[in-house]
Amino acid sequence: MKAKFLVPLFLFLVLVGFLGFGLTLDPREVPSPLIDKPAPAFRLARLDTPEQTFALDEMKGKVWLLNVWASWCVACRQEHPVLVDLARSGVVPIVGLNYKEVRGDGEIDARGLALEVETAQAIERARGWLNTHGNPYNLSVLDIDGRVGIDFGVYGVPETFLIDRDGRIRYKQIGPVTPENLKKVLLPMIEELKRAG
């Protein structure tokens, strides 16, 4: 066996090494510039009692999850049972950010809809959905026009943010929370953050 004829094999094995390692990485995982930064402040109407509002600082001193959801979001249905189980265990409070409930839905033409009408529709749809699928949220807030979503850099629903006692974002999950990454990533981080404070 002459060495030069082994070169293709060698190059191929290096390539395989990278490909194999690549399998363990998620190309969709884009680092968020918000990690370890204070979560953007907001004050929004609550879904259960729309005449009341909820603000970010109300969670100060707690480790909590902010979960971005909408009834039109198909992948939310996939993660929903995971969230319901998590809520039942009481490990961590979950706040839902209902994102563009009406205008985000591709099947609805929300242009020209008055904001009050849109809000009323959003409340009806979101409550109906929680009634059907279960409500894992301590409370949900309504981001009708998606402005808070933009502040948080949401580019796909669902997304989940882990926020620490000081109101800083410590982790961002893009896409549905699966039982696996809940166990491997989220829960350990939550435990650690709780202990730290």
Partner: protein, 657 residues
């Protein structure tokens, strides 16, 4: 019941593939004719079962059987019948089944058109194809069963991705897969040659037509995919250097090198280990393409299923198939002597030069495609590599390829006089440069890239015409028809494919330099003049389709007062997914396309309309089709048939003995 039959049939196909992989190989090693004879029936039986399984899956889609999970995910009862059928391969599992079916079809073709090939060699070829098939069927059955049931069945399906509900979907994947998988045949011939130590001119001659046919399929498949992206995505682009496009382009580049290298091996006995390596490489890149698309290692618009378990399986398959063949190569190739020697100025030199350049281009595309992955794996951050990289690498590397390509046919094998060839081609070279500069200045786009593109195109066209002229003058006394008929089809194939490259470059250069685009806001009744054309938006109507609702604009197109046509671009919302889709409308012409797509509707009721004039864009696809036609002509050459006939009695006698 029918899906279960399909599943069962797939299992049977797997078992037969295993038999096809093992028995003939052992038979060839032990020189046992009855074991070698298993190759043909096993391959044919496997084909029958794979086709039956494919038929069962198609049945589930056609009848909207939403208790089959795959159909529930990728079909809908309102989907038109043709897209229910094509929906079979519009997903991970189904497209793999199509892959397996294409492989099986190629294998059967080899069993049919191989009477002139010695039994032991054929047994090895079929055995290698059986190994590949075993791997893929195992992959299907273990990780991607297309027949999985959804119990209880869904009331309604989720519909096929609207992007895929297009005539392009009917032919693009089958053509592409026939091309991809076709390189498996070239690969199998190469491995059989390594195993038997028979890497001679005969091996190259057997392998050539198969390789060329696969290359033709791949060429047309890529061209169709590009045309589809052009009119379906609504941006008017025709190539995006997307990882999945690259995945099909890399085997094409190596395949192009391979068909030329095979020619040298057949005619001169040279480049043998290089040819074998290219055959392994072309198929490896096909497999790698499958890996990239299916594993989710790289994000792409095409990656419709991503699952690390599947990725792990394919990587195992890659290691097994490619690793084993490269090991075999390292072991056996050194025993090959170099073959015919050749001088610095000879046809071999141009072919070798282009071969190396094509391989380098292919490697650069691979590097660009995987670079984000490398950096990520080394923890150096996330980046994406875009068209600027690929253009920066591609143009300088392909320029010498195109220049050398035209020298090759003028040069004699073995050695030639540099001066004579230079004198013959100097006028064409100078004329091309003048034409390139002249046209670039005339169209007001005197940039180095446009000038280079036009010069290269002129070079290809002029040198081709000169070559044809001198070929026809060879037999000065004979009549024109007899002069034409003595030129072999293979020569016409070469000539046509090379000429096609020139046509392709014209299209690419002009679209890249003088296309015009305007995004404009229009309301019904409004008129606009753009790029020499007059557009009148008559109105936008709501039109229901079978599984979508469309807003269809009617735009009248005229030029200098004469009506040219009526364009009806649509904005569709597919009901099942709620997914919006643009359907561009085109007025296609030989020298330009007028391309109109409908954008968003503004709150006041006006529409954003995107207008394009794309000069010479059809020349891109015409060029690809000419290349493919060249391949068809080359395969149609009489000498393949003649050789087949001449050798048949000999092998029949061998069998009798």
């Amino acid at each position: 019941m029918i899906p279960e039959l399909g599943h069962f049939s797939l299992v049977l196909a797997f078992v037969l593939a295993l038999v096809q992989a093992v028995v003939p190989m052992v038979g060839a090693a032990r020189n046992n004719p009855s074991m070698m004879a298993v190759a043909r029936p096993a391959a044919r039986g496997q084909f029958v079962f794979v086709v039956f399984a494919f038929g069962c899956l198609t049945w589930a889609f056609m009848n909207s059987d939403f208790s089959v999970a795959l159909a529930a995910r990728n079909s809908h009862s309102d989907t038109p019948m043709i897209y229910r059928i094509t929906g079979v391969w519009g997903n991970h599992e189904g497209s793999l089944l199509l892959w397996a079916m294409a492989l099986s079809l190629w294998t059967v073709a080899v069993t049919v058109f191989s009477r002139h090939i010695p039994d032991a060699f054929l047994a090895r070829v079929i055995g290698v194809l059986g190994c590949v098939s075993t791997g893929f069927l195992a992959f299907l059955l273990a990780t991607s069963n297309p027949f999985s049931r959804l119990l209880p069945g869904a009331a309604e399906g989720r519909d096929l991705n609207p992007l895929l509900q297009d005539p392009g979907m009917i032919i693009h994947p089958p053509l592409l897969y026939m091309g991809y998988v076709g390189f498996a045949v070239a690969f199998a011939f190469a491995i059989a040659a390594l195993l038997s130590g028979r890497m001679d001119a005969a091996w190259a001659r057997w392998s050539r037509p198969w390789t060329t046919v696969a290359w033709v399929f791949l060429t047309v498949g890529i061209a169709v995919g590009s045309a589809w992206a052009y009119y379906e995505l609504g941006w008017g682009g025709w190539w995006f250097w997307d990882p999945v496009e690259n995945a099909s382009f890399m085997p094409w580049l190596l395949g192009t090198a391979l068909i030329h290298s095979l020619a040298v091996t057949e005619k001169r006995g040279a480049f043998r280990s290089w040819t074998v390596l290219l055959a392994i490489g072309a198929f490896s890149l096909s497999l790698l393409g499958t890996f990239l698309v299916r594993s989710g290692v790289i994000t792409s618009v095409h990656a419709f299923a991503t699952d690390p378990a599947r990725g792990l399986f394919i990587i195992g398959l890659l290691v097994l198939v490619i690793g084993a063949s490269l090991l075999l190569f390292a072991w056996r190739a050194p025993t090959l002597s170099g073959g015919g020697s050749f001088g610095l100025v000879s046809r071999e030199t141009t072919l070798l030069g282009n071969n190396v350049l094509l391989a380098v281009v292919s490697a650069s595309v691979l590097l660009g495609t995987l670079y984000p992955l490398f950096l990520d794996a080394l923890n150096l951050g996330k980046i994406s590599v875009g068209p600027p990289y690929f253009q920066a690498v591609f143009v300088p590397l392909m320029t010498p390829v195109v220049v050398l390509m035209m020298f090759g046919p003028y040069l004699r094998w073995k050695s030639d006089a540099a001066g004579a060839v230079a004198r013959r081609l100097a006028p064409a070279g100078i004329a091309s440069l003048l034409i390139g500069i002249g046209i670039a200045v005339a169209i007001g786009h005197f940039t180095w890239r446009t000038t280079l593109g036009l010069t290269l195109a002129a070079w290809v066209v002029l040198a081709s015409l000169q070559l044809l002229g001198s070929r026809l003058r060879e037999r000065a006394g004979a009549s024109m028809s007899s002069r034409l008929s003595t030129i072999p089809a293979a020569w016409w194939g070469m000539w046509t494919a090379h000429f096609g490259v020139g046509i392709f470059i014209i299209g690419v250069t002009l679209v890249g330099s003088i296309d015009a685009n305007l995004d404009v806001r229009m309301k019904a009744g409004e008129q606009i003049d753009f790029a020499g054309y007059h557009f009148v938006l008559r109105g936008v109507d709501s039109v229901p389709g079978p599984n979508y609702d469309a807003s269809r604009a009617t735009i009248e197109l005229s030029r200098e007062g004469r009506a040219v046509g009526v364009l009806q671009p649509e904005k569709r919302v597919y009901r099942a997914m709620g997914m919006p889709m643009t359907e561009a409308a085109l007025d296609i012409g030989p020298f330009r396309d007028v391309y109109v797509s409908l954008g968003e509707q503004l709150p006041e009721g006006d529409w954003i309309v995107s207008l394009h004039r794309k000069p010479f864009i059809s020349w891109i696809w015409a060029g690809c089709l000419l290349m493919a036609l060249g391949g068809v002509l080359a395969v149609a050459d009489r000498r393949y048939r003649r050789l087949a006939e001449r050798q048949m009695p000999a092998s029949a006698m061998q069998q009798a003995v």
